[in-house]
């Protein structure tokens, strides 16, 4: 392998004259964080609702929830990204008009956030359902016995327990979301991976650019891991394996 490393590339001026290449990396990093953060909120809210609904005793709600999960789980994320960006706006004329008239980046951002948010919501729904179903039957019955309504049983008994139990799988889902946000580059969104490839194409220093992106992704993954491990310790349920004392 003979490759001449040139780490100075990050301090060279970009062709559009708006600064150095490291600023492209930083800008891409911000977009990655912005997509991931917004999509995570959507995923958590929608995923919790769908997951909860799947454990109720209303058959048509359960079926609707199951259909939601199967729909998002059985189509590749890349194809879903194309559907949100190229296909769905065609069926909603006002949205289409807005996407054509606005800056491309806003249209790409909206499509990417919706796509990743709903895709991840299906996976979180699966974990929320598993979390609720892992609780012993007695918890629900006890809640009913003390006179709580079904909504109150979920709000005060089942969900607080379930969320504390599913934090480890939620952590890995959060990291998957951050990694998956790189697929937004296929609709032209200039996030981290997009920027690193772009720097490679402009300067032919592909490996330096990819190394920078790799290091940043590893740092994000490790940070998310630490933060969630801290949360996990704080909210661990006493008496469960891994629940501490």
């Amino acid at each position: 392998m003979n490759y001449n490393w040139n780490w100075g590339v990050f301090f060279q001026q970009t062709p559009d004259g708006d600064g150095a290449y490291w600023e492209w990396i930083l800008a891409g990093f911000y977009w990655t964080l912005a997509i991931s953060a917004l999509a995570w909120i959507i995923a958590l809210v929608v995923g919790s609702i769908v997951g909860t609904v799947r454990t109720t005793d209303r058959p048509w709600l359960v079926r609707l929830g199951n259909a939601w999960v199967e729909l998002f789980r059985n189509i590749p994320l890349l194809v879903q990204m194309f559907l949100w960006y190229f296909v769905i706006p065609e069926f909603i004329p006002p949205l289409k008009n807005w996407m054509v008239s606005t800056e491309p980046i806003y249209a790409q951002f909206l499509a990417a956030v919706l796509c990743l948010g709903l895709f991840t919501s299906a996976r979180i729904a699966e974990q929320v359902r598993a979390g609720i179903q892992s609780l012993s039957r007695g918890q629900r019955n006890a809640g009913m016995a003390v006179g709580l309504t079904q909504v109150q049983v979920y709000r005060f008994v089942l969900l607080p327990m379930a969320f504390r139990i599913i934090i480890p799988p939620l952590t890995s889902e959060t990291m998957n979301l951050i990694k998956n946000s790189s697929i937004a580059l296929t609709i032209g969104l200039a996030e981290l991976t997009f920027r690193s490839r772009e720097i490679g194409e402009y300067t032919f220093n592909f490996f330096e650019a990819f190394t920078a992106a790799t290091v940043i992704y590893i740092t994000i993954a490790m940070t998310a891991n630490r933060v969630m491990a801290y949360v996990e310790r704080r909210v661990a349920v006493p008496g469960y394996i891994g629940g501490g004392k």
């Binding site: 059985n74 194309f82 990694k179 580059l185 992704y217 590893i218």
Partner: protein, 227 residues
Amino acid sequence: MDLDFSIVTRSLPYLWQGMKYTLQLTATSAVGGLFFGTLLALARLSSNKILSNVAAGYVNLMRSIPLVLVIFWFFFLVPLIAQGITGSERPIQIGAERTAIITFILFEAAYFCEIMRAGIQSIPRGQVHSAYALGLTYGQSMRLVILPQAFRNMIPVLLTQTIILFQDTSLVYVISATDFVGAASKIAQRDSRLVEMYLFVAVVYFVLCYTLSYLVKLLQKRVAVIR
């Protein structure tokens, strides 16, 4: 808006070419990934500290960066490695399709490693002791006693991972390989029929993946080992 799905029927032969590549890529990477993943799992569980740390480092690295970025890395690395091996004067281009196969085998190995590690760790320790007591060597006890059981226990998980892999292979789109999505998108862009094409692609993937995961679920019930 007028939808014209005849574009799909007219381009079916080309789409089938793409689907054949997708299936070939999925099968090759599943088999190759399982082979190297099992070796990685054995390395991770080995008592040799250096070996287990190197394997763990590789697996964690692969699992913490996006697949798209891994595909880009290998797309530019493989020609240089090929040049190094053959000692040629210039980087050797082997094409996006073949690069994708190498990439997916090496990437999937990390994921299959974690599955096989869980499978091996689910085998009671007594099995290893009995194998040694019978006079089997490490290689024999792994090959004849532990791995067949670990493999059998993990078949549903391995198949589920293969379905995920089948969906993930669509990402070779980013290096312009002509898989199913690549073929569809080339025609879609040529004829400006993105809506029809991408809807068709989504339906095909949905039907295939939904059916396959249903079959895996049935299989899971049949192979469940009663302890």
